[in-house]
Symmetry: C3
Subunit: 137 residues, 3 copies
Amino acid sequence: MKVHTDYLWFNTRKRQEFICITSEVAGIVKSSGVKEGTVLVSAMHITAGVYVNDLEDGLIQDFQTWLEKLAPAGLSYRHHQTGEDNADAHLKRTIMGHQVILPITAGALDLGPWEQIFYAEFDGQRKKRVVVKVMGI
Amino acid sequence: MKVHTDYLWFNTRKRQEFICITSEVAGIVKSSGVKEGTVLVSAMHITAGVYVNDLEDGLIQDFQTWLEKLAPAGLSYRHHQTGEDNADAHLKRTIMGHQVILPITAGALDLGPWEQIFYAEFDGQRKKRVVVKVMGI
Amino acid sequence: MKVHTDYLWFNTRKRQEFICITSEVAGIVKSSGVKEGTVLVSAMHITAGVYVNDLEDGLIQDFQTWLEKLAPAGLSYRHHQTGEDNADAHLKRTIMGHQVILPITAGALDLGPWEQIFYAEFDGQRKKRVVVKVMGI
């Protein structure tokens, strides 16, 4: 059994930004030498998420508009009494999910026709990290 | 270490349909010969989800009513400018989750008393797939 | 390859309660002897969840207020026709997520600076369980 660990670093220009990371994850899977197994892709910060969905700009905007409606910025959250201003980022990342596990079959990511992996940043403009853990044979 | 891969196919009659797949997943686990490990059950299409909850028709209807409130069909989503009409399906599956990992203990799914695995279709009436990846010893 | 299974038991005093379980999970990882791998932490009851976020009381209250808005208690849910009164608990746990997978690197949980693991109880005051499944080498 092989276990291979790598990290992806992000420092977005905008506070909120969704970034497609499918090819980076595929590259780490290839480097690992794992032919059959899974890869965990997980945000290591609690105001960012990782999710699988469509690489289509309109839909990405729909997601962002929708999250703003479900978990608005600028409300008087109790978390802000600590000096923070990002409670909405914690809620938004909860909706999107903080991690995914992708299957690896025959040496490659076993994704459906439209599946793309995204890093969803909700409180960026600073260095943040995603762990990528490959396990298998 | 063993890794065993299988796929479940769906082609629902209705656009939206929730289908209990616990016995199908249990069957694949049995076929795999894995006694201790985990099984990943993951939708390969981005308008469907996989989740664990109760096999109770009233609750399934509650989920569907609730999702329609949180992520309504028929709004003027930007995604629809591509010709699609299913943006709400992408959002709904995001709420429900697109995958689960179930533990395998002593050769069987290690589920709590009411845990059932569901395929949640939000844009059906065509062939779609779920990957089932068993890993363990 | 090693696979190690353990369970955490909960019986909360309040119906809804969020409990930090990072040190319990870290202890099980240490007991397992796994140096490189992953650990699945998954609620075995369908009105409880497991999630990763901040150990900050204000934010925990923000989560609870927010969940009450998105999935209110006391509506006339169809699930309640079975005699149950906890449909909102099923919906709330769906938002928070029912499980997480944490990476294990160099013999310890590989968590980001603020990541803490929580058990989220939405229908407590009775014995409930979380499965902790460690896999790796």
